[in-house]
């Protein structure tokens, strides 16, 4: 794989929007059909480039939400307040539109099916996107790796992929845990606070298990959760992180 990666050129490709899913009021998934797409690994991202009529260009990185499937690439985009690119992708883009992208990019924050060590995934807000690609790959490949996904969201309505996550949590060897930090529906019995050491002690296997953790979200979330995992004895090189910045990708 590494050898092939070194051979490949990172060219801009033109993709066509073939599917749109409104995930939450502020998050939308776009499925792109991209001729020439070389396939990708769960956890990888694309760079997406928009060009205005006057030639001005804006470029952003978006995680891929799905396992590799031919020339299809699904990204999930969160609206950034006063953003330059995300409002366009949420409000304007429609099936049939063309977008420029390059990728896949990323050789660190990736997971491949293959019966490796157990995996713990922790996502804050739209940080769940690359983790979802890993979880979906785990399930669609029939791989038996124990996988636990912890999602932290402000409210139930803010959980990206909520319906799918609620069904996945019954899948063999897969556990999905939700924590709602700001508001809870009536009768909510799950966690109701930000991720803390006590929560991770409850949920996460001991370091002896060889557990590999992937933590993705806003910078504050990611650094806090990764720090807590290391404090629980997980070796730093088995706590992989991807930081989106102050408010998300």
């Amino acid at each position: 794989m590494a050898g092939a990666e070194i051979q490949r050129r990172l060219n801009w490709l033109v993709a066509v929007v073939v599917g749109v899913v409104e995930e939450t009021p502020s998050v939308r998934s776009l499925t792109l059909s991209c001729p020439g797409w070389p396939g990708h690994r769960p956890g990888q991202h694309i760079d997406l480039r928009l060009t205005a009529p006057d030639g001005y260009q804006a470029q952003r990185s978006y995680s891929i939400a799905t396992p590799s499937e031919g020339e299809l690439v699904t990204i999930t985009v969160e609206r950034i307040f006063e953003g330059e690119v995300s409002p366009f992708l949420l409000d304007v883009v429609a099936p049939g539109d063309r977008l420029e992208l390059r990728g896949p990019i990323g050789g660190y924050f990736v997971w491949d099916p293959g019966e490796g060590p157990p995996v713990f995934l922790a996502g804050g807000g739209s940080g769940v996107v690359p983790l979802m690609a890993m979880l979906r790959a785990r399930i669609s490949s029939g791989d038996g790796t124990p996988m636990h996904l912890l999602v932290s969201a402000r409210s139930r309505d803010d959980i990206v992929y909520r319906e799918e996550l609620e069904t996945l949590s019954h899948h063999d060897g897969v556990v999905v845990t939700l924590t709602l930090t700001r508001s809870r529906p009536e009768g909510w019995t799950g966690y109701d606070r930000r991720v803390d050491g006590a929560m991770l002690r409850d949920l996460v296997m001991s370091p002896d298990s060889g557990l590999v953790s992937y933590v993705c979200g806003p910078t504050g979330f990611t650094e806090s959760v990764a720090g807590l995992l290391v404090a629980l004895g997980h070796p730093p090189h088995r706590v992989l992180t991807e930081r989106f910045g102050p408010t998300g990708g």
Binding site: I105, Y108, T219, R243, G245, P246
Partner: protein, 85 residues
């Protein structure tokens, strides 16, 4: 907390080095820490992109895009190890 990390710099590093770089190891010229480039602390609102050592904050890599060129400064990296498969 305005920073992101070296994952987000993957496309730009690929332009500079001609290969996927986020999993490659770099040694900090300041403190000697060895980490995958994905873990660098990256500031994107500077002119260009500035990547710092996650351990000591030394400026590792600076990439500035110019109209017909990319200028890269790698003063803060003692060595880069490129895994060739």
């Amino acid at each position: 907390m305005r920073h992101v990390d070296g994952n987000a710099m993957g496309g730009l590093l690929w332009e500079v080095f001609g290969a996927e770089m986020t999993h490659q190891l770099g040694c900090c010229a300041g403190c000697g820490a060895v980490n995958p480039l994905a873990t660098l602390t990256v500031y994107r609102d500077a002119p260009g992109e500035v990547a710092r050592c996650p351990a000591c904050g030394t400026v590792s890599i600076v990439v500035v895009r110019m109209p017909h060129a990319i200028r890269v400064t790698i003063e803060g990296v003692r060595w880069l190890q490129i895994h060739t498969g």
